[in-house]
């Protein structure tokens, strides 16, 4: 194993990650290259949870799989615990991935229906030659306890004898069996009923505290992501449009897309949410994404510059980056001409108190 990452180094450091797929034309569908992930960079610090929100087709799941090297990204680097996974092969990649585990959306799809729960949880321990049979069985019991399943009742069950929430707990027990340092959760609670979802979220929270786990937590539900995340990234058509501390992104969204997402959430305050349908139209095809800013075709603030220039991420508040020519702290381009000159010279930045709060 290469040199251990020091405390201040990020646990996971992803740079300029690109993933593309070639699709053939047929059945009325257009052929071309799907630009699923187009140059994404981020860090996850030890013990930190980075949430990634985005809609269907934003590339968030492709991003998760590219980090896992399944399949390998087209270009870019994925440095995990000091080693670039994109350069590793075979057993060395397998060994590095021991500390990088994942939980996906459909628990039943990821559990072998013919296996007993205890064999499912034991399997990674066997694969990585951890302990002897007796030690492994003991560890399986501990792991089931950890995720809130009584080993006496559940160890010998098959997946079909479990509810969705229980099956997801088994998937989590298997994922944490090798004591990973990073858990990638892709819509891991999205298929669960709300009461079970809350139980599983609390379990993630407990594992974070007790095992010092870091998470890459991917979901389409903004409130859910806020609940678990230290920092949140918003993804649209293969790119991050905004990333920053959770409180800051949700209280003071800088990207018009983030604002539209936030405004679309139904609220339990009657009448309060009916600002709805703030965003019109459909996301464009990732086969031929718009020039310049990819959100411009649906953006209420889009101007000529947005079509010609790709907006680079800018840090407008501590740790809060936005890739937008006209972020929400500045007047919209149409009003910009009428704006007071001093305002356009120094764009209003959210007060630091708010950002750090």
């Amino acid at each position: 194993m290469s040199a251990e990452a020091t405390r201040t180094d990020p646990l996971l450091s992803v740079r300029d990650l690109v993933q593309e797929f070639v699709v053939r034309e047929g059945g009325g569908a257009r052929g071309g290259v799907v630009q699923a992930v187009s140059g994404v960079s981020f860090d996850v610090m030890p013990g930190e949870t980075l949430g990634i929100v985005g809609e269907t087709g934003s590339g968030k799941s492709t991003l998760a799989r590219a980090v896992l090297q399944a399949p390998r990204p087209k270009s870019g680097s994925v440095v995990f615990r000091g080693t670039d996974l994109t350069t590793l092969h075979g057993s060395r990649l397998l060994r590095a991935r021991q500390h990088l585990q994942f939980v996906f959306q459909d628990p039943f799809g990821s559990l072998d229906p013919k296996w007993q729960v205890r064999s499912i949880v034991e399997e990674p321990l066997i694969a990585y030659h951890v302990g002897n049979r007796a030690a492994r069985r003991k560890r399986v019991g501990e792991l089931l306890d950890l995720v809130g399943l009584d080993p006496a009742r559940y160890a010998k069950r098959h997946p079909r004898e479990l509810s969705g929430g229980q099956a997801q707990r088994v998937a989590i027990a298997r994922a944490v069996a090798l004591e990973p340092s990073l858990l990638i959760c892709d819509e891991a609670v999205s298929s669960l009923d709300v009461l079970i979802q809350a139980q599983v979220l609390n379990l993630f929270e407990r594992l974070r505290r007790e095992l010092g786990l870091s998470y890459l937590f991917i979901a389409h539900d903004l409130a859910l992501v806020k609940q678990v995340s230290d920092r949140v990234a918003v993804m649209y058509l293969g790119k991050f449009c905004e990333v920053g501390p959770g409180e800051s992104v949700y209280k003071q969204p800088l990207h018009p897309y983030t604002k539209a997402l936030l405004d679309s959430i139904p609220s339990t305050e009657p009448g309060a949410a009916r600002a709805a349908a703030t965003l019109h139209g459909e996301p464009p095809s990732p086969i031929n994404p718009p020039s310049g800013c990819r959100f411009r075709t649906r953006c209420p603030r889009a101007a000529d510059k947005c079509a010609s220039e790709v907006p680079e991420p800018r840090e407008l508040a501590p740790g809060h980056l936005v890739a937008c020519h006209f972020p929400l702290t500045e007047p919209a381009p149409a009003e910009a001409g009428a704006a007071v000159p001093s305002q356009s010279a120094s764009p209003a930045v959210p007060s630091t108190a708010e950002v750090q709060g």
């Binding site: 709300v194 139980q199 929270e205 389409h220 679309s264 009916r274 349908a277 965003l279 459909e282």
Partner: protein, 336 residues
């Protein structure tokens, strides 16, 4: 507008609806004595977890359950009894008087047929109109559901459309014969949050334009709070709480059932700080073949007492328009 539904003006009147299945000699009471009504132009949300009976009840009204389902009780649509009708009779009502939109538009649409043909088929099943007339109506329906480039989309296949657009097609098919009652069963659950907002807005606009009654079946209390007039909460086949949305949610909301409270509290919302523990109730819904004699929620309820286990509380209108089934309801909307 009065939140109280008048007993005579109701478009759909459901009384003591029961649906039971038998599994391995044991009876599963999926819907266990449910009564409610909906007026034209109003939106009713039926909320519950998987297995609460919310979908089965609606399918019973639509006549979409298998033969093995034992259905009793009454569901009158505009005065006509729907329960006990023959398949042929039900087919006449389905589509023309009542229609349903489901969660997964990809699975509801025929992948080998152009969407235009699927809509014209729906029209011509119920109305004797010429092909060209049906075509014109289908394009009109696509426009009605705000389908972008309706003329072009008419000739496309389902796989060429996004999830949101497919759901618009499903709504167009459901509305083909201008039903008086539209049931949307988790119709926006599979959609993204911005698309969900678009489809909900569309449904409510169409409801006003066509003066339909809308029943939205969902697990999402947030959706109910935002869009419904009236909310029903179901647990283990029974209605446990029913009230106008305004009375139930938001500041000054007077939720009475601890189950409803638990559902509300378990939803992550933006006001909560990161990494805080979500309030949860332990356990899971009871085995439908072995329901407890008392309140079905009692084994999980933080406020359960001896009387809850002994006898099930009936659903009673305790306050104007607000029905609940609990011996020890929450005070001022919060759990004691």
């Amino acid at each position: 507008m009065s939140p109280v539904v008048s007993p005579n003006g109701a478009l759909l009147q459901v009384e003591d609806l029961r649906v039971a299945f038998s599994a391995g000699g044991r009876e599963i009471r999926a819907v266990d004595g449910v009564s409610y009504q909906v007026e034209a132009g109003r939106t009713l949300a039926i909320i519950g977890e998987s297995g609460s009976g919310k979908t089965v009840g609606c399918r019973a009204i639509m006549g979409l359950l298998p033969e093995s389902a034992a259905i009793s009780g009454s569901a009158r649509l505009h005065g006509t009894e729907m329960i006990g009708l023959s398949d042929a009779q039900l087919r006449k009502h389905r589509g023309s008087d009542m229609a349903m939109v489901f969660q997964d538009p990809a699975r509801s649409l025929n992948p080998t047929m152009r969407i235009g043909s699927q809509i014209t088929e729906a029209i011509r099943t119920h109305r004797a109109v010429s092909k060209s007339e049906a075509h014109a109506q289908a394009v009109e329906l696509l426009r009605l559901v705000r389908m972008p480039a309706a003329d072009r989309r008419f000739h496309e296949y389902p796989h060429q459309l996004s999830g949101g657009m497919r759901q618009r097609v499903m709504i167009a098919i459901a509305l083909a014969c201008r039903p008086r009652l539209l049931i949307a069963d988790e119709a926006t659950t599979a959609l993204d949050v911005t698309t969900q907002a678009q489809i909900m807005e569309l449904l409510l606009e169409l409801q006003q334009e066509l003066d339909m009654a809308l029943i939205m079946v969902s697990h999402d209390l947030g959706l109910a709070a935002s869009y419904a007039d009236e909310v029903i909460v179901m647990y283990a086949g029974k209605i446990v709480e029913q009230a106008p949305a305004k009375q139930l949610f938001g500041k000054g909301g007077t939720v009475k059932m601890r189950y409803t409270r638990a559902l509300l509290d378990a939803i992550p919302h933006l006001e909560r700080a990161a990494h805080t523990e979500l309030p949860v109730v332990s356990g899971r819904p009871p085995d439908p073949t072995a329901l407890p004699p008392g309140c079905s929620f009692a084994p999980r309820c933080p406020g359960a007492a001896d009387d809850c286990v002994a006898q099930a509380p009936a659903l009673t209108e305790h306050a104007l328009g607000h029905r609940w089934a609990c011996w020890h309801p929450c005070e001022n909307g919060v759990s004691a």
